[in-house]
């Protein structure tokens, strides 16, 4: 099996030759090209070349088409601050008061230069590895996007407003964000991505109680999924165990889980019908030795088995800049060592 076949087998609960390994390597491409992060992020050619060098170096099962998901806010007029050793952060919000929502329109993702570069990287990667590696695109989920447009505090004030602001502004806000993310995801699929991962940190059980998730986020997620023309990955970016069953059968093909969740328990909650990807602790990768990484991967595989429905990866959003190369090698090597299906070999 090649990487893509392996991933598809795992996602469709057929037994792969080995468990796929999906380390989320985004910034590391800049190291391979010896470029400062901001410059690396700014060109689609850089992103594609960086990803190609990374798969050559680590031989994992996927490539990533985007520099960072924060770029999704740019077409709305938000500003980013770049760092030499980490992903950028939003430093200029574009919604300053709730009434600004009334004037919102759905921006065209393909009209923004940075997002054009992402689409260009997707096309370049599709030219090189389509059908061989899993090509992964990503989008901030519509329910979570407003936290980057107005700030989490203001967004929480809207969600839990006492003076009718929620009823007045939330429907319009979600309509704009859902239309935008749907369009942006489908553009990436058209450019050659195999799967779009939706990162939905504000919807997770770390942020919302279960009844709040059902009331506020779930309807938005269902609407989103219904408009996507390809494979869907859903990343909780927080605790999922108590809400994961609510998303069962709603259209996601893979759930990406954090290190705080018990993978086996989540599998039980979903009835084993949606594949799970996770959940190596990305922050601990900074200090673990390669032996410890191997130990943790083995533990995870012992827990989840090799029978399909499971992909090894790190928890989101990505592997930090300062994680040693040896640990990334150890992660991939350990999956090869312990995740190979003996009957299929």
């Amino acid at each position: 099996m090649n990487s893509l076949e392996r991933c598809v087998a795992a996602v469709t609960f057929k037994e792969p030759d080995r468990i796929p390994v999906i380390p989320v390597l985004l910034m590391q491409g800049a190291k391979e090209l010896n470029l400062p992060l901001e410059r690396y992020f700014s060109r689609g050619d850089n992103l594609a070349e960086g990803q190609m060098r990374l798969v050559e170096k680590y031989d994992h099962d996927c490539v990533f088409t985007f520099p960072h998901v924060v770029e999704d806010v740019l077409p709305f007029g938000a500003g980013l601050r770049y760092f030499p050793d980490g992903p950028p952060s939003v430093d200029r919000m574009c919604l300053h008061k709730f009434s600004d929502i009334e004037a919102m329109t759905v921006p065209d993702p393909s009209a923004h230069e940075q997002l054009k570069q992402t689409l260009h990287a997707t096309e370049k990667l599709a030219e090189k590895v389509k059908g061989e590696k899993l090509i992964v695109g990503a989008v901030i989920a519509p329910f979570s996007l407003p936290s980057m447009l107005m700030g989490t505090e203001k967004y929480m004030k809207l969600l839990f407003s006492r003076d009718g602001e929620y009823e007045r502004y939330f429907p319009k806000l979600m309509q704009v964000c859902t239309d935008y993310t749907t369009r942006w995801a489908n553009l990436q699929l058209e450019a050659g991505a195999d799967i779009i991962v939706f990162a939905d940190g504000i919807a997770s059980n770390t942020i919302l109680r279960t009844h709040e998730f059902e009331r506020l986020a779930l309807p938005v997620i269902e609407k989103l999924f219904s408009g996507i023309n390809g494979l869907i990955g859903y990343e909780f970016v927080g605790e999922a165990e108590e809400i994961i069953h609510l998303l069962q059968g709603k259209g996601a093909h893979v759930f990406l889980l954090g290190s705080g969740d018990d993978m086996a328990a989540c599998r039980a909650k979903t009835g084993g019908s949606t594949a799970l990807l996770g959940n190596i602790n990305n922050i601990k990768l900074l200090r673990w030795t390669p032996e410890r990484v191997e130990f943790e991967v083995k533990k995870l595989i012992d827990q989840m088995g090799t029978g399909g429905g499971f992909l090894v990866g790190n928890q989101g959003p990505e592997i930090p800049w300062n994680v040693p190369d040896e640990n990334i090698h150890a992660l991939v090597r350990a999956v090869r060592k312990y995740g190979t299906v003996r009957t299929a070999a």
């Binding site: 050793d85 952060s89 602790n281 990305n282 601990k284 200090r287 030795t289």
Partner: protein, 503 residues
């Protein structure tokens, strides 16, 4: 009759003053007790966090075991490889031996702290006995006062009962601390035994690498060494049990504090009913109602209660004090379970708006507003995630601290300037983005180079929840994983005995 009543009233007042003083002393001691337990837990965390003392322990033990197991497998391969790996294992064992010595050193600190706690428990028990005596005296005074003292008599009985409960709680703390001390002894002995054995095996192994001809014997030595290392790993896992016991001690002390809190409430009621002070506000009931309104997220009821209390003559300072107690109760309960950010946010916004009502009232009344100390808050430079920081600010204010919030993306120089300007001993930094937390070690270094070792840094943010040992790399003085922990830490840092204003 009138004369007798007056005399009795004076006697009762005197008893009440003694009672109040005793209860407050006990409350302060119980806070010391909690602070000491917090300190003990911090020491425990050092075992789990300090790279020198422990990482060379749990993680390296695990690593070495994996490597050692691989060695056993590879021993059938080349002798050279075996010899090299043997030397490596010997080297690792040296590291482990060093780490074990460091752990032993930390354990000596732990034992010392545990003795200190025992001392506090003894004091609490003594005070509980004194409370009981005072309650008996109060009962006698009440008898003398006849009809007038009937209500007081009932309350005096309750005080006596609470005194017994306080004693019971402190005994529970004493029991847990005693058990903890025993565990420490057992662990220390175990550790020493293991270290001795390890040194012997280490000597054997250090020569093993050069003796390729004695492979079979070396394998035997290695297996023995690995078994010993596995036992040490198990000993380290034993720390988990010790930690649990410590947590039980903490909870017992928390119970003690709650009993004392009830004593204070009772005392307030006593003052009102016996001395006839005219006030609609009944502190115990008010706090219970406010607590229920906040936890049920009833914003209008919460604000309404506070406005009503202020309007009917309760001072702003008293309301602040009662709010602090209510928040403490809410946070204590929240610490017992997992919370979502939405819950923290909703409670936080209610408390924030209550503070907006109460603080101006308190400031108008007097300059003696409860003041525990000043804390500087801000997001690390480059970090623009304000929500966590604001929530911590709200609960710190509610707990009686003055908070200077510098906002998002604060340069280190600004933190220092604000700390010096406001004479703050604590800087709280929020960092959601991992790479912004790197500013913290720089800040520590800057403060130290200026001689401000006494200004402490407390850090919080999502990455510190994902890896509890992350601070090894960051080097803040304290890590607060939740807003409630932030208050605990602040209380600890500023020292509960120094907060003279909080009474």
């Amino acid at each position: 009759m009138h004369e007798i009543t007056e005399v009795s009233s004076e006697d009762i007042k005197d008893s009440l003053r003694q009672l109040e003083s005793t209860i407050l002393t006990t409350t302060n001691i119980s806070k010391d007790l909690e602070a000491e337990i917090l300190h003990l837990q911090k020491l425990m965390n050092r075992i789990g966090q300090d790279p020198k003392e422990s990482s060379s322990s749990r993680d390296h033990f695990a690593d070495t075991l994996i490597r050692s197991q691989d060695v056993i497998r590879s021993v059938t391969g080349t002798t050279k490889e075996f010899a090299e790996t043997t030397r490596h294992v010997a080297h690792e064992m040296t590291r482990i031996a060093t780490a074990s010595e460091n752990i032993a050193h930390t354990f000596r600190d732990l034992k010392s702290t545990s003795s200190e706690i025992s001392r506090f428990v003894t004091i609490v028990q003594e005070v509980a006995s004194r409370t009981k005596m005072l309650a008996l005296n109060a009962r006698l005074e009440a008898e003398r006062a006849g009809e007038f003292g009937r209500g007081f008599s009932v309350v005096a009985d309750e005080v006596k009962l609470l005194s017994a409960e306080s004693r019971e709680s402190s005994e529970s703390v004493a029991g847990a601390v005693g058990e903890f001390a025993n565990m420490l002894d057992e662990f220390e002995k175990n550790l020493q035994d293991q270290m001795l054995s390890l040194t012997e095996e280490q000597k054997k192994l250090s020569t093993a690498g050069d003796m390729a001809g004695r492979v079979a014997s070396d394998i035997g030595n290695m297996v023995v060494a690995i078994n010993k290392m596995e036992r040490i790993l198990s000993s380290l896992e034993y720390l988990g049990t010790v930690e649990n016991t410590l947590e039980q001690a903490r909870i017992s002390s928390e119970n003690l504090r709650q009993h004392l809190q009830r004593s204070l409430e009772l005392h307030s009621r006593l003052v009102q009913s016996t001395l006839g002070e005219n006030s609609e506000a009944r502190p115990g009931e008010f706090m219970q109602e406010l607590y229920e309104a906040i936890i049920h997220e009833n914003y209008h009821r919460s604000i309404g209660l506070v406005r009503e209390a202020l309007a009917t003559g309760t001072s702003g300072n008293d309301v602040l004090g009662m709010l602090a107690n209510t928040c403490e109760r809410i946070m204590y309960e929240q610490k017992q379970r997992r919370l979502t950010l939405s819950e923290i946010f909703i409670n936080g916004t209610i408390i924030e708006d209550i503070l907006k009502e109460v603080i101006p009232a308190a400031e108008q009344e007097t300059s003696e507003r409860p003041h525990k100390g000043t804390i500087i808050l801000g997001n690390a430079f480059g970090d623009y995630h304000s929500l966590g920081r604001k929530m911590v600010g709200v609960v710190l204010k509610a707990a009686g601290f003055d908070v200077i919030d510098l906002g998002m993306s604060v340069p280190n120089e600004q933190f220092i300037q604000a700390a010096l300007e406001h004479n703050a001993r604590l800087i709280g930094i929020s960092a959601l983005l991992l790479h912004t937390a790197i500013e913290v070690p720089k800040l520590r270094k800057q403060l130290d180079s200026m001689g401000h070792h006494d200004i402490k840094i407390m850090i919080g943010g999502a990455p510190f929840l994902i890896d509890e040992q992350l601070n090894e790399k960051i080097g803040a003085d304290y890590v607060a994983r939740t807003a409630a922990e932030g208050v605990d830490m602040a209380n600890y840092i500023f020292g509960s005995t120094q907060n003279a204003g909080v009474q």
